[in-house]
Structure formats: C-alpha cells, structure tokens
Symmetry: C2
Subunit: 319 residues, 2 copies
C-alpha cells in the first residue's frame, strides 16, 4: 500500500501520522519532543513512534517533516528557537541514513507552510488560488500557496507573514523588531494587550477568573469573559480584532488572494474575533481586491502539522 508519513516536530510534542493519498489518517501517535540530546534524540523518538505503528517503511512512499522554524530549500534546518539544542542540521540526510529511506523522498520544511498546504489539499483552502494561511498560536506563522504549491522565495524562507509590522513603535517581537503582527496576535501578544487594558479596569470579572495571577491570563479566559459581556474583555477583543483586520488588509493588498485561511489555537475564538476583523480588513483593503477574497477558519488544528507534512510528502512523488 502507498502511504505517506507526516511528522510534526513541535517545541513540546512530536506527532506523526500515516496517511493515504486522500488525506485520511490511518495511524497517529505523539510523544514528547526531547528537550536535550540534539537532533539524535529526536530521531530516536521518531524511531519509537514508527515501531509503535508496526508498519514497515517499504509501505511508505514519502516522508514529510515539519519544523517550527526556518528550513532552507535543501531541507537544512536552521536551529529553531524552540529546539535550540539542535544547531544547524541537514535533517533529511540524517533521517535517510538512519531509516535507510531514499533521501529524495524525504521533504523537510517549515510547519506553517505545511499547515497551509494541508488546508489547500484537504481542508478549508480547498483548491483556492492564491491561498494565504496565517496561524495564530505561540507565534504567528504564514504560508503563501500559489498554484497549489508553497511559495518559498529565494532560499526557502518566504512567508514570514507574522513578521510584517503593524505598528512600528509597538512591543518588541521575538524576532527583534517592534510591532510585528506576532507581537499583537500571538498568545503572548494578546495577553500583553489584555494586561494593559486590565490595569485600567480593576472591576473586570477577568481579575476574579485569574485570581489576580498574570500567568493564568490566556486568550481562552479572555474569550470566556467577553462571552459573558465583561467590558474590559470586549475592549481587548476589539483591539485584537482590529490588529487582525489591519494584518488581513495588508495580505489582501499584497496577494489578491482568493482565500485566506486562519488557523492556530487563537483562531478557535471564532466568529467574535474573525467577523469584526474581516469587517476592518474589507474596509481598509482596496475595494476591487477585497471583494474577491473570502476569509475562513482552518479545518485542521491538533493534526494540522502531521497532515501538512504528509501533504508535502505527497508532492515529492509522482503518481
């Protein structure tokens, strides 16, 4: 049988799945991502998952591996921030040697790009061209899908959409700049916006919900409080959706996309976040471009990385 192996290496978990070419998941497993031991420890973890699958690799046509950081067009991984004990590694070559699997059937890439491909092939981006995906989570990732393929730019690094500036004197972003989309729309960015607004509203129900502990303030608590009509939380939501709207308007003017897919944990906030953002975007973007785009939530969440990596694997073999 012709199966595709998708591996999603995250900062916390490593997930893997065997998929058929229609995108159905035939087997799935996850394990902790080793915090030490470099890439060798990671390969050992992957090997354990494959043992668990009890599926000989002869039945696998191609392997895709998604990484939470920059990967060049040759598959060389540039020390991802969350896997900084790795250094710069040619992961495809290492996997090929370890598993005796043909190197040309292994594709290593950025996880946000692969998640975009998953939405294009099997999810809510279904064959829309061009399709732009943004993922709002720990960071803000992006994928540019043109003619059904990931747009890589010169070296494989294109699509860092989370590092478009929305406000040049905004908060410091993890990348070093100020006011990137990520600095407002990531988990931490939203919490920062919330904390500022909360300082001016000591009567907000959020204070009670988090017991005064900054560490307990999360997009999910804010969402719950705004659903209850808490004014401070509605203000936070307003501000976040306005930034999201500005971000979307930029993407519309740049790409004239047929569809924008919004994924990542934060997007589960759903309509209350996305509808006002879409309104801002359609007002701010150029009218003749904005009227041709539609904006939807992602289909895949927990397994987006695995489905994406397997989707990328499908693209490396002819069939």
């Amino acid at each position: 049988m012709n199966m595709f192996l998708g591996i999603d290496i995250g900062g916390t978990y490593t997930k893997a799945g065997l998929l058929d070419r229609d995108g159905n998941i035939l087997a799935f497993a996850e394990t902790d991502t080793p915090k030490t031991g470099g890439v060798q420890a990671e390969i050992a973890s992957i090997s354990e998952i494959l043992d668990f699958f009890e599926e000989p690799l002869e039945n696998v046509k191609a392997i895709g591996v998604g990484i939470p950081g920059p990967v060049d067009y040759k598959g060389v991984v540039f020390s991802p921030p969350n896997l900084n004990h790795w250094g710069k590694v040619d992961l495809g070559r290492l996997l090929s040697e370890f598993f005796h699997f043909p190197a040309q059937n292994i594709i290593v890439g950025n996880d946000a790009n692969f998640a975009g491909l998953a939405e294009y092939k099997f999810g809510n981006g279904a064959q829309q061209d061009p399709m732009i995906m943004i993922t709002l989570g720990t960071g803000v990732g992006g994928a540019i899908i043109i003619d059904g393929e990931i747009f890589h730019g010169r070296n494989g690094f294109a699509g860092e959409l989370g590092h478009i500036v929305l406000q040049p004197d905004g908060p410091r972003c993890g990348c070093g700049r100020r006011g990137c989309a990520e600095s407002f729309l990531s988990h931490q960015g939203i919490v920062r916006i919330a904390w500022e607004i909360l300082q001016k509203d000591k009567g907000s129900i959020l204070w009670e919900m988090i017991g005064g502990e900054f560490e307990l303030l999360t997009p999910k608590t804010i969402q719950e409080a705004s659903n209850m009509g808490d004014p401070a939380s509605c203000k936070i939501l307003d501000k976040v959706s306005r930034f999201l709207g500005i971000f979307l308007a930029d993407l519309i003017n740049i790409f004239n996309p047929q569809r924008i897919v919004i994924g990542g944990g934060i997007s589960k906030w759903g309509k209350p976040l996305i509808e006002p953002a879409e309104k801002v975007a359609k007002k701010q973007a150029m009218k003749h471009i904005a009227e041709n785009v539609n904006i939807v939530r992602a289909k895949f969440y927990q397994k987006a990385g695995v489905i994406g990596a397997a989707s990328a694997a499908m693209s490396v073999v002819d069939y």
Copy 2:
C-alpha cells in the same frame, strides 16, 4: 522585422516606443494624455503616435499597454484615479478593433507591474528570482516577479505593495486607509513629513529655498538642502529613510527575495536615501532572510513604462 510596441499611459503623458526583442528602443514618442473624451480620445492619441512612427503594424508582433491603475487578468481597466473619465473599459478589445490587430497579441496591465518586468528582463533586476520592485513617485507602486513572470493573484490585482500599512494611525492615504507606505513614501507623503518638521525649525534653509511657499516644497528641494547639511532636511531624510527601511524589511520577510529594485522619481535621491533605509531593513528583517537579499536602484526611469509594456508584449508571443 519583429518589433514590440510598448505604450505607457500616464496621468499626464502617453509614451510609446518600438523595441526589438533585446530591449533596444528603435523609436520613441510622447504626447499629452487627453484629460477628457474618455478612452476614445486616448486611442486617437495613440493612433497619432503610430502615424508618427511610420512603421506599419504588420511589423509589430505584440503590443503592451501599461495603465496607472488596476487592470484585471482579462485586460479590463478599472477606471484609474488619474483617468477617471474612462470608466471601466476593455482596452485590449478596443485597441484590437481600432487597429485591426489580433487581440491575443495585445496585453494590458498595471504600469508598476510592467516596470518590474522591464527591470527583470533588461534592467537592474536581471534574472533575479524572486524580484520585488517598488516605485516611489506620485504614488507608491509594487511588482512581484516570480520565475520571471508578474505575480497577478486571483484577479490580476496583486502587488499593491504601496498599500501595506507602516503606521496604523498615520496620515490618510489616497486609498482610504491610514498610514500606508504610500502615505509616507510618495511625493506627497514626503512633502507632508517635511512640512511637519519645518514647522519646528523656522531657521531651516529650506524656508528660503521655497520662499515660504508650500507648493514649492518638493523631494528635490529637500534633497538639495540635505546635501548642504541643513539640519531640518537631514531630519526629514532620516524619517523618510526609516519608513523606507521598515517597508523593505516587510518585503524581505514576506518574499525572501533575491533582489529588491527601487524605482520612481524619488529613488533618484540615491545613496543618501537608500543606504540608511537598507541598514534599517537589514536590522529589522529576519537575519537568515535579510542576508540573502540585495537592494538596488532601478535602471529605467522616464522610459520604464514603455520598456515594461514592450517586455510584457514579448511575453505573450512564443519565439
């Protein structure tokens, strides 16, 4: 002989040129763009230029026409702001009927896109991939050249790079948004920045140079005054180049381009504008992406539109 006709319809002038396939200009002419009379008056002007060329259209393989506004992928022109007496017109079809020239060998497109193609084919973008062009002039235009072709997006409207927001509460842009790149980096945007700074420095030599008249304040005067070391003008240059740097950093993070070409009248300011902007850009963009880009000035200015339109014409015929 196989020639290509490039027509550049601007708000003020209509320019046309006959080019060979190596990009050499064999004939060139320009005339005023009619202010009234709609597209029919424009076609009459073009016809006069062609009479002047005394070159039968049988010797022309293809015609390209650049427009200062949105053009969809079918060549339909959407009432450009500077040619608003036109309305929405299928310019390719009208030209084909008027000149009895095969419609499939006429290409109508956005002038900024065509200028980008000119730089890619014959100018300072020479075969770099991806190549991004920005033009700083009356407006701020953009072109995204991937694999040597203009990236059009869904409907032909992609590449409105001048309408990426650099500061969400910035000055109102012609497009309706606030704080677009165009609102800081166009002729008018720079003058606005300058005027603000001048209010606080009544001793600036610029006041003398413009005789106190706002209308005489231009990027060129500012450039001259900053060359003389005028502190206010140096401050203006600082601010403008910082915005340009932020803009370039966005483009680097989005596209991972091999080259960015900066054209349009403002770019003639040259090194004093572009070098500090490049410094800001390379500091703000992600390091692994920034180190792979090079940023250069355009080769073509007055004839960029004509060479671009002819370049686009070359792309519609096989040879």
